[in-house]
């Protein structure tokens, strides 16, 4: 058994993952005013990158440790169990989403919107759609991140055991596949209905996830993948600042015609589906800057709002699913009851509060369970696995 370092949870990972979950909740509500104050306003990347990267990092830390400590089969079993949990969560969210759409389609029927009503196609061809949903091929808006996460984690069944000693080796095939997608725009997995592909192309996004995994694995064996180099840091800062200025000008341009959208003709299109290099570079630079500037023992991480985000980040799957359902509900409320400032404040306030309250509740419940000897092991596992 190789020697690995004992690592306590890094509060920064949980904090930023929690923050990403809140951003994903906000960004998923169309027309949300707060949507102008999330990451994508000042960056080419958005909360999706943060979520996928930090999920990879946590996976590297947790499953990597399992592979190091116990045998291969046990590590694989843990990964499989996690994949299964994600899968059932996806199916659960799908059920609720379907119910919401069925209800709306049932109520809303206007000949003027004949094409819009086609979205209800899946209500008339339920037999096909259910199979497609089980195969992760049916991905309406909101239901596209979990399938990606599932596939990326499944990939680690093969990659992670091979990369335990040499995390960098993981990145070689990963980068090759990523480059192939960038150059040829191919391959991507197929989706439903026919001719569609995945919104998040797993062949592209796997690179970001693998970067996270490799960094997590590297941490276990105390190997830094990026040197602590001042010049690298300065470059990253420059990338983050320049991206922020350019992207902010685009954001402002949508609201005020007079402000020019800098370089938009040169930089567009920036594919989210294929994780365009600009998004990836912007995100990695941002991650580097944050990692450097925010220390694990930073004061602000102990404040109340930060602790709330950490609580959410530690329960990322639960809170992610809840966030999706809250987005759907929030959007419904804004459309039905007006999207004035008061309603916006109510929807965002209630949504974020519900996420935090749920996180605290689950934590409390797990603490209670941990006190009972019979469930001690299970509760410990549940906290670490996230």
């Amino acid at each position: 058994m190789p020697q690995t370092v004992v690592i306590s949870r890094d509060a920064r990972v949980d904090f930023f993952r929690g923050l990403a979950l809140v951003f994903i909740f906000i960004d998923h509500i169309p027309d949300d005013v707060l949507g102008d104050f999330t990451l994508h306003t000042v960056g080419f990347c958005d909360a999706a990158e943060v979520f996928i990267f930090l999920s990879g990092y946590s996976a590297g830390l947790y499953y990597g440790r399992a592979f190091h400590r116990s045998d291969f089969i046990h590590g694989e079993a843990l990964l499989l169990r996690r994949i299964w949990t994600l899968y059932t969560a996806h199916i659960f969210v799908f059920m609720i989403y379907t119910a919401a759409v069925s209800y709306t389609i049932e109520v809303f029927h206007n000949p003027m919107y004949s094409e819009e009503l086609e979205v209800g196609d899946f209500l008339t061809s339920t037999h096909v759609v259910i199979v497609k949903a089980l195969l992760l091929q049916f991905q309406p808006a909101y239901l596209d991140i979990l399938p990606l996460y599932i596939v990326l984690l499944a990939l680690q069944l093969v990659l992670m055991p091979l990369a335990l000693r040499y995390p960098l080796a993981l990145l070689v095939p990963s980068a090759v596949v990523y480059l192939v997608v960038q150059i040829w725009g191919w391959p991507n997995l197929s989706a439903y209905p026919e001719d569609r592909t995945w919104y998040f192309n797993p062949f592209a996004w796997q690179f970001l996830f693998c970067l996270g995994v490799a960094l997590g694995l590297g941490r276990l064996i105390e190997r830094r993948l990026f040197p602590h180099d001042r010049r690298l840091f300065m470059v990253a800062v420059a990338v983050v600042l320049i991206s922020a200025v350019i992207k902010l000008s685009w954001t402002l341009h949508w609201h005020f015609d007079d402000i020019p959208a800098l370089l938009i003709g040169w930089l567009e299109p920036i594919s989210k589906t294929n994780l365009a290099p600009l998004r990836l570079i912007n995100f990695m630079a941002l991650a580097l800057v944050v990692e450097w500037m925010v220390l694990p023992q930073a004061q602000f991480l102990a404040t109340r709002p930060a602790r709330a985000m950490i609580a959410c980040g530690q329960l990322s799957l639960n809170i992610f699913c809840l966030g999706i359902l809250l987005s759907v509900t929030g959007h419904f409320v804004l459309v039905e009851f007006g999207s004035g400032l008061v309603m916006q404040a109510v929807v965002n306030g209630c949504g974020i509060s519900a996420m935090v309250a749920t996180a605290y509740f689950i934590h409390w419940f797990r603490r209670v369970e941990r006190r009972s000897p019979a469930t001690k092991a299970g509760a410990k596992r549940a906290v670490d696995e996230e």
Binding site: P30, D31, V33, F108, P111, G338
Partner: protein, 254 residues
Amino acid sequence: MRLWLRVGRVATAMVTGILFLIEVGSPVAADPVPSVADRCAPPPDLVATESAFPTLADRLRQKQPMVIVAIGGASTLGVGPMAQSYPARLEVELSRRYGASNIRVINLGVARETAIKMLRRLSDDVLPLKPQLVIWETGTNDAVFGVTLDDFAQALKDGLGLLKAAGIDVLLMDMQYSRGSAEVINFERYMETMLGVAEVGDTRLFRRYAMMKYWSESGVFDFDGPTAGRQELVAQIYECIARRVADVISPPEP
């Protein structure tokens, strides 16, 4: 930022709503002709102040013949009689504004088509008609069927390039709004894509969605109301859209 725009919009919406109620409530509101026009004024931030197509406006003023092609989906084709569709109403409206009889608006709407399918028709069906202006309504089916944003953007770009190369002016048009459709379809990503492509390609985008949303929120129209009176609602909407499109070509005198 958008916050204040929104405050302004909500305030205007409320005022418009109140004015509308007063108008409906008062027995004096008997003038039948301008009722529709008065009702469907555009939201303040979408008022056309100068022509987006000055050359076309000149042409119209000089009473030269004009061919406009409206290509799009079901909402271009129109529900009910063809004469009621927005392209047909646009022809009537432009002819009225310029007192001309040689303006033709050709309706090439086909239901259920995505931008990629329309792209093919642009070269096969639209170019041979040698129009001066093409109004390209798209995005609805792309959002409904979940076409990849990259593919959608590429189709738009190719289409705009094709028309520009042929020296034809283009007006892009986005989706229709109703609370019901907004709840089940995520149009936002597709609308942002259209905005982006229009911006990069220096093309005018007719923001139908924002306009109809404004009418819905200010209580001018209820697209999700009871089934009775739907036919009339449809006719009024097409009339309103036609007038607002006409504004883009020839804005009303202030």
